[in-house]
C-alpha cells in the first residue's frame, strides 16, 4: 500500500501507464487495485479518477483529481460504517424532526384553530431549542468520531497526503454526510410529517382534516440550520488536524491517563447545591413563587449534578480506596479502580445523560399531566357549567342578564340548577397577616408569598345566597380565607381599620371565582356602594375590577344545552355589549387544543432528547469498550477467569449506565412537589393523576433505557472479549 501511494505521489509522468494507479487502494487495500497493476490499462473509465488533471506538471500531492477525494471519502465512510452509521442516522432523525416541527409551525391550515398563535410561538421556541440541541450533540459526536479516526488520518498523512489534501478529503466526507442527511431527513419529514400532524390534530381533538403539504420555507430553514451545523463541524475537524502534528495524529488516542485527584471544594459545592435545590423544590408551596423558584432549583441541581458526577464521585471512590480492607477484595479492587478511571473520562457524559433524562421525564410527565388533567382543570376553573360576567354593573343590566338567561333556557327547554350569582369587586394586595397594603408599581421586588387576591361581595348577595339575615355597619366586614383561619378581630385595608364581625368557614360565592395562582381573601361588606368604593380606590384596572357574575349548571339534552348557551351568548353580546358568557363545553375545546399541542411538543422534544441520548451512550460504550479491551486482556493474563471478568464488566457497565438514570429519577422525585405546585397555577391539583403520569413516564423511559442497555452491552462484550 505504501509503495502504491508513494508511486502515485512521486510520479509526474502520465505517459507511464503504470503510474496511474487506482487511488482507491489507499483507502481499501486490496480492493480493485489489481486491475491496474498489470500496466495494461484497457478500461479507461475505471481509472478516470486517477488521472492527473494538470498533465503531471504538479508533482506534489496537490495534483489529485477531484474525483479522487470523492472516492476516498466514500471509501472512508464505508470503512468506518460502524461508527458513522449511528451518526448519520441521528443526523437524519434530527433533520427530520426539525423539518416536521418547522413545517407544522408554518402550516396554514392551523390558522383555522383559535388561539393557535400562542402555540405557534411555543413551537418556534421549541424549534430554537431543537436547533441548539442538535448543534451541541452533533458537534459532540463529530468530535468523538474524528478523535477515533486520528490514527487513520495520521497514516494518510505519513503516506503522503498533506493537510490540505486531508482537508479536501474531509470536505467531501462532510458534503456526502450533509447531503445524505438533508435529503433523507427532509424526505422522511415530508412522509412522516403527515402522520405526526394527524397525531397532533388528534391530540388537539380537532376533527376537521387539514392539509399537510410540503413547506418550502421549512425546507429552506432546515437546509440552512443543518448546513451551518455541518459546516461548523467540518471546520472544527480541519482545525483539529491542522493543529496536531502527524506523529501525534498516529498516536492520537493513546495518552496515559493520570489518576484523578480528589477535589474537595467542588464536592462540597455540589452537595450544598443539591441540598439547597432539593430544599427549594420541597419548600415551595405557592404557585407564583414556584415559577421563579423552579428556575433557581433547576440551575442548582444542574450545577450539583455536574460537580457531583465530576468531583463527588471521585472523592467517594478515593475514600473507598483508602479503606484497605474494603479496597483489596477481589470484586472491589477492579471495580473501584476501574470506576475511578471511568468517572474521570465519563463524568461529563454521564451528567449530560442525567440532565437529558430529567428533561425528557419532566417535559413528558408535565405535558401529559396537563393533557390528562384537562377535565380537572376545567372543573376547577369553571365550577359551574355556565358563567356570565357582566361589566359596567347597574341594576338594569343585572336584571337584563337575568331575564336573558331565564328566557333562553326556557326556550331551549333546559333547567337552571346550582345557581350562584353576586356582585364582585376584585383587587390585588400584599397581605402581611393583618394589613392589606398596595402594590407600588415601581417596587423592584414583590414578596410573592404575600400576594393576595381580594374578592369583595355586598351583604345583600351574601344574605340571598346563604339564606341568612346578617347585618353589617360601615367599617365592618365578614372575613373568609379558604383553608385558613384568621382569628383576629380587626384588619387593615391600607390605612383604614376594619372590624371583623364574623369569620366565615365557607362561602357559596367561592364557586364563582377560583384562583389557582394567588391566594385569596373574601370579604362581605355592607353594600354595593362600599364594594364600588373599594374597587375604585384599590383596583389597578379601575372599574373593570367590579362586575356581576352569574354561574349556573344547565340540565337537559346535549343539543338543547348547546343551543341555550349559544342563544344566551348571542343575546348578551347583542343587547348588553360589555358582557361575556363562558360555557365549560366550549372551553374544553380550547383546553384540549392548547394542552394537546403542548403534549405533542413535549413528546416531540422528549423523543429528540432520547435519540440524542441513545447516540451519546452508544459512542461512549463503543469507545470505552476499545479502551477496556486492553485492560481486561491483561487481567486475563495475570489470572482472572472469564467469569470474573464478565462479572466485573457487568457491574461496571451497569453502574455507568444506570447511575445517570437513577440520579435522574431521584431528581424527578424531588422535583415532583414543585412541578405539582406549578401545575396548580394551571388549575390542576390532582396529585394522584400527576403521580401516575410521572410514574408512567419514568416506567416507559426506563424500559427504553433498559432496551438500549441490552443492545449496547452486547456490543460492548463483543469488543472486550
Amino acid at each position: 500500500m505504501a509503495v502504491e501511494l508513494s508511486r502515485l505521489v512521486s510520479s509526474g509522468d502520465t505517459s507511464n501507464k503504470r503510474s496511474v494507479c487506482e487511488p482507491v487502494c489507499i483507502g481499501k487495500p486490496g480492493f480493485e487495485k489489481e486491475q491496474n497493476l498489470g500496466g495494461q490499462d484497457t478500461d479507461t473509465g475505471q481509472r478516470e479518477g486517477g488521472h492527473w488533471p494538470d498533465g503531471g506538471q504538479n508533482a506534489g500531492g496537490q495534483g489529485f483529481h477531484g474525483g479522487f477525494y470523492v472516492r476516498l471519502a466514500v471509501t472512508n465512510l464505508r470503512k468506518n460504517g460502524k461508527a458513522y452509521l449511528p451518526y448519520l442516522l441521528t443526523c437524519i432523525i434530527t433533520v427530520l424532526m426539525f423539518y416536521v416541527l418547522s413545517a407544522i409551525a408554518k402550516n396554514d391550515g392551523l390558522n383555522e384553530l383559535r388561539g393557535v398563535e400562542s402555540m405557534r410561538s411555543v413551537m418556534r421556541a421549541v424549534l430554537a431549542v431543537v436547533g441548539i440541541f442538535a448543534t451541541i450533540f452533533l458537534l459532540y459526536t463529530n468530535n468523538i468520531l474524528i478523535k477515533q479516526r486520528k490514527k487513520e488520518l495520521g497514516l494518510y498523512h505519513v503516506l503522503g497526503l498533506d493537510k490540505g489534501n486531508l482537508a479536501r478529503m474531509l470536505l467531501w466526507e462532510s458534503v456526502i454526510t450533509t447531503v445524505a442527511s438533508l435529503v433523507a431527513g427532509i424526505l422522511g419529514g415530508i412522509l412522516l410529517g403527515k402522520l405526526l400532524f394527524l397525531i397532533l390534530l388528534k391530540l388537539m381533538r380537532f376533527s376537521v382534516p387539514l392539509a399537510f403539504s410540503i413547506e418550502m420555507e421549512a425546507v429552506k430553514e432546515s437546509v440552512l440550520v443543518f448546513g451551518a451545523i455541518f459546516l461548523v463541524s467540518f471546520l472544527r475537524n480541519v482545525w483539529q488536524i491542522g493543529r496536531t502534528n502527524p506523529v501525534d495524529l498516529l498516536h492520537g488516542s493513546q495518552e496515559g491517563e493520570r489518576e484523578p485527584k480528589t477535589k474537595i471544594l467542588p464536592t462540597i459545592i455540589g452537595v450544598a447545591a443539591l441540598a439547597v435545590g432539593y430544599y427549594i423544590a420541597q419548600a415551595t408551596d405557592d404557585p407564583l413563587s414556584a415559577v421563579i423558584n423552579i428556575f433557581v432549583a433547576v440551575v442548582l441541581v444542574i450545577i450539583a449534578t455536574y460537580t457531583l458526577f465530576m468531583a463527588g464521585s471521585i472523592a467517594f471512590l478515593k475514600f473507598l480506596k483508602r479503606r484497605k480492607n474494603y479496597y483489596y477484595q477481589t470484586r472491589h479492587f477492579t471495580n473501584v479502580s476501574g470506576m475511578l478511571y471511568r468517572m474521570k473520562q465519563n463524568a461529563v457524559g454521564m451528567a449530560n445523560i442525567c440532565i437529558m433524562s430529567c428533561a425528557v421525564l419532566s417535559l413528558i410527565s408535565v405535558t401529559l399531566s396537563l393533557y390528562l388533567g384537562a377535565e380537572d382543570m376545567l372543573r376547577t376553573r369553571y365550577p359551574r357549567e355556565c358563567l356570565a360576567n357582566v361589566y359596567q354593573v347597574g341594576t338594569e343590566r343585572v336584571e337584563k342578564e337575568n331575564q336573558i338567561v331565564e328566557e333562553e333556557t326556557d326556550r331551549a327547554g333546559v333547567r337552571i340548577e346550582n345557581r350562584v350569582s353576586a356582585h364582585l369587586g376584585t383587587f390585588t394586595t400584599l397581605w402581611d397577616g393583618e394589613r392589606m397594603s398596595f402594590v407600588d408599581e415601581d417596587a423592584a421586588t414583590i414578596a410573592l408569598d404575600q400576594l393576595y387576591g381580594i374578592y369583595v361581595i355586598p351583604l345583600e348577595d351574601y344574605n340571598r345566597m346563604e339564606k341568612k339575615d346578617v347585618s353589617l355597619k360601615n367599617g365592618e366586614a365578614l372575613f373568609y380565607m379558604p383553608d385558613k383561619t384568621f382569628g383576629k378581630d380587626t384588619f387593615w385595608i391600607g390605612e383604614t381599620e376594619v372590624r371583623v364581625k364574623e369569620e366565615l368557614h365557607s362561602l357559596a360565592a367561592e364557586e364563582l371565582s377560583t384562583s389557582a395562582v394567588t391566594k385569596v381573601i373574601w370579604l362581605v361588606v355592607d353594600g354595593v356602594e362600599t364594594v364600588e368604593e373599594l374597587v375604585g380606590q384599590y383596583s389597578a384596572i379601575g372599574r373593570d375590577g367590579f362586575f356581576y357574575m352569574d354561574g349556573f349548571d344547565i340540565e337537559g339534552g346535549e343539543e338543547a344545552r348547546a343551543k341555550a348557551w349559544q342563544s344566551i351568548n348571542a343575546r348578551m353580546q347583542e343587547e348588553m355589549g360589555d358582557a361575556a358568557v363562558f360555557w365549560r363545553e366550549e372551553r374544553r375545546e380550547s383546553y384540549y387544543m392548547s394542552n394537546g399541542g403542548y403534549l405533542f411538543i413535549g413528546m416531540f422534544a422528549g423523543a429528540l432528547f432520547l435519540v440524542g441520548m441513545i447516540l451519546i451512550i452508544y459512542y461512549k460504550q463503543i469507545s470505552e469498550g476499545h479502551d477496556d479491551r486492553e485492560r481486561f486482556q491483561i487481567m486475563k493474563k495475570v489470572g482472572m477467569s472469564q467469569k470474573e471478568i464478565r462479572a466485573t464488566i457487568r457491574s461496571q457497565v451497569l453502574m455507568v449506565f444506570f447511575l445517570p438514570l437513577a440520579t435522574a429519577v431521584l431528581h424527578i422525585a424531588f422535583a415532583f412537589h414543585i412541578f405539582s405546585t406549578v401545575l396548580r397555577a394551571f388549575g390542576l391539583s390532582n396529585t394522584m393523576l400527576e403521580v401516575s403520569c410521572t410514574a408512567g413516564t419514568i416506567g416507559v423511559f426506563a424500559a427504553f433505557y433498559v432496551a438500549v442497555f441490552f443492545l449496547m452491552s452486547r456490543e460492548y462484550y463483543r469488543i472486550v472479549r
Partner: protein
C-alpha cells in the same frame, strides 16, 4: 525433580476461511528441572510464542501433552484454569502488561487480590520482594510515571508474589534499553539462584547467555540445545552465537 514436561507438542492453526493450515509446532519435546533457568531461542515465526502460550495454558496444543509437576494441563477444568494459572505460573511480558489504573503496588497485588488474599498477608509478602528488586520507593507511583526497566521490575515482582512453580517470560528485555536489560537479567539470575525456576523466550543472545540452558527452536521443533556447565556468561554468549549461525545457514548440513 522434573517440573515441566513437554511431550510431542504439536499445534496447527487453521485460517478462518478454512483451507490453509499452518503448522506452528511440529513435535516439541523437552523438560525443565526444578530450579533451572532455561532460555528458548528461535527466529521470528519459529513458534516460540505459540509454545509459550501453550505452556501458559492460554492456548491448547493440537497434539501432545504438557505436564506441570506431573499434572496434565489439558485435564485442568476450564473454570479452575484461572486459579491454576494464578497459583502455579508467574508471567513476565515484553510490554509489561501493567494496568495504568493501578499504582505499581496495586499492580503487584493484583494476582493475590484475585486469589482473595487479605491485605495484611499481601503487604507482608511484598516487602522482601520489593526490596530485592529495588522498587520499594516506587510502589506508590503509577506505571506511566516510571521507566521501562522499573515497570519490568514491577512486573517481575507481580510474577514472584504468588510464589509460582515456574516463571514464564516472553521477551522480557524486548522493550528495554541495554542497561535496563542487563539489570533485569541480573535479577533473573539472582532469583534463579534463590531457587526460582524460570523459562524465558527471547531473541536476545545477551539475555539468553544468562540462562543455564538454551533451547533452539526451528520449524516447530527443538533443534538444538546448549548447557552452560561451568562456563561464564561470555563463553555462553560465544556458543549461542555459533549455534545461531549454524541455525541460520541451514542446519541440515
Amino acid at each position: 525433580m522434573t517440573l515441566l514436561e513437554v511431550q510431542n507438542v504439536k499445534k496447527i492453526y487453521t485460517t478462518r476461511n478454512g483451507g490453509n493450515q499452518v503448522e506452528a509446532l511440529r513435535d516439541v519435546n523437552f523438560s525443565v528441572e526444578s530450579g533451572e533457568f532455561v532460555a528458548i531461542m528461535g527466529e521470528s515465526g519459529s513458534g516460540k510464542t505459540t509454545l509459550l502460550n501453550i505452556l501458559a495454558a492460554l492456548d491448547k496444543p493440537t497434539g501432545g501433552k504438557v505436564k506441570l509437576k506431573g499434572q496434565d494441563l489439558s485435564l485442568v477444568k476450564e473454570r479452575e484454569m484461572a486459579a491454576f494459572r494464578r497459583e502455579n505460573l508467574g508471567f513476565v511480558f515484553q510490554d509489561f502488561n501493567l494496568l495504568d489504573t493501578f499504582s505499581l503496588e496495586d499492580n503487584i497485588y493484583l494476582p493475590l487480590v484475585l486469589a482473595g488474599q487479605k491485605h495484611v498477608v499481601m503487604a507482608k509478602r511484598l516487602w522482601p520482594i520489593a526490596q530485592e528488586l529495588g522498587i520499594t520507593p516506587l510502589l506508590k507511583k503509577y506505571p506511566y510515571e516510571v521507566s521501562g526497566g522499573q515497570k519490568q521490575r514491577a512486573a517481575v515482582a507481580r510474577a514472584l508474589i504468588t510464589k509460582p512453580q515456574i516463571i514464564l517470560a516472553d521477551e522480557p528485555t524486548g522493550a528495554l534499553d541495554s542497561k535496563a536489560a542487563d539489570e533485569l537479567m541480573r535479577i533473573f539470575g539472582q532469583i534463579n539462584q534463590e531457587g526460582q525456576t524460570i523459562l524465558m523466550v527471547t531473541h536476545s543472545v545477551k539475555a539468553a547467555s544468562h540462562a543455564g540452558r538454551v533451547l533452539f527452536i526451528k520449524d516447530g521443533e527443538v533443534f538444538h540445545q546448549i548447557y552452560r556447565g561451568n562456563q561464564s556468561d561470555e563463553e555462553m554468549y560465544q556458543k549461542i552465537t555459533a549455534s545461531l549461525t549454524v541455525l541460520m545457514t541451514g542446519g541440515e548440513r
